[in-house]
């Protein structure tokens, strides 16, 4: 481990000493700038989708009926479970415990999401739908694929951070990498939480 400190121990008075990460913004400032840019970008996609929907409600409702709502609901639960594991990784890292298994768990949840989504894309494309079919399929394929790429990238980030965590590169005094990876994973989750009802359910 490159930098280590002991976990805070209760003092004689019953108080505990400050943890090194406690007063700092989780993940550092840079990741929050990135998160803001991503959130604003996807928000614009959502607003554009809603605007086009309101102009063509019949086309959107009919097109939506070809999607698998249950599969998307399961994918939501999968991503939320990955987010929980990422949060647990941060929690464990702060305690000086192993975080790598939680990080691998989050990465596996991302792989499951990608596999289910790939199957969904294959079905949609084999049914003859494409970005040029109508405005719903354009938004569906474009926005969900953008999110899909973010999840695939997140799997890679989680795997790299998990390997580094196993190597002992992180700990209570050096938590930034684990926190930043977890914040990115939560961002992917937050984006999907809006995308899921908007594309699959509203109507």
């Amino acid at each position: 481990m490159t930098a280590t400190t002991q976990n805070p121990e209760p003092a004689a008075s019953g108080e505990v000493s400050p943890a090194p990460w406690h007063d700092r913004l989780p993940g550092g400032v840079v990741v929050w700038v990135f998160l803001t840019a991503e959130l604003v970008t996807f928000s614009m996609f959502f607003v554009a989708y809603a605007w086009t929907y309101s102009a063509n409600p019949d086309v959107f409702t009919e097109s939506q009926s070809h999607l698998h709502r249950l599969s998307a609901t399961i994918n939501t639960a999968v991503l939320l479970t990955g987010s929980w594991m990422a949060a647990r990784a941060v929690w464990s890292n702060h305690r000086g415990r192993r975080a790598d298994l939680w990080l691998w768990g989050a990465a596996v949840s991302g792989v499951v999401f990608v596999v289910l989504k790939t199957v969904e894309y294959a079905e949609v494309l084999s049914d003859g739908f494409s970005m040029s079919t109508n405005s719903f399929w354009f938004y569906y394929l474009f926005v969900t694929f953008m999110h899909y790429l973010h999840v695939a990238g997140g799997v890679g980030i989680m795997a790299v951070v998990a390997v580094k965590a196993r190597r002992g590169d992180y700990g209570p005094a050096n938590a930034l990498g684990v926190e930043a990876a977890a914040i990115y994973w939560h961002l992917i989750d937050v984006i999907w939480l809006f995308l899921f009802p908007l594309v699959y359910l509203v109507g």
Partner: protein
Amino acid sequence: MSASSPTVPETDPVASGRPFGAVDVTWLALLGLTLLTWIVGDDAALGLGRSALLLMGLATLKAVLIAAVFMELARRGRMLLLGLGAYLVVLWLVLWLILARG
């Protein structure tokens, strides 16, 4: 860290050593809200306006829970949580207003 820094609160898992914490309870709550989202989304009788209001509201609630607990903003970035929460509520209302026109 300055001498005036706050100590780790007793409820902090690091200090308390509890095996389960807010993170685990929040995960279960999020799964429950996802099930509720699916049930509401499957109710065709609601209409576009009501379903948009409810479904995007549930999404906002889940996103704020993630920000507060999973991202630890409730303890380590309350102003950021306030800003992010306000942004998500505005997004919810904007999407609802646009969809309700349809």
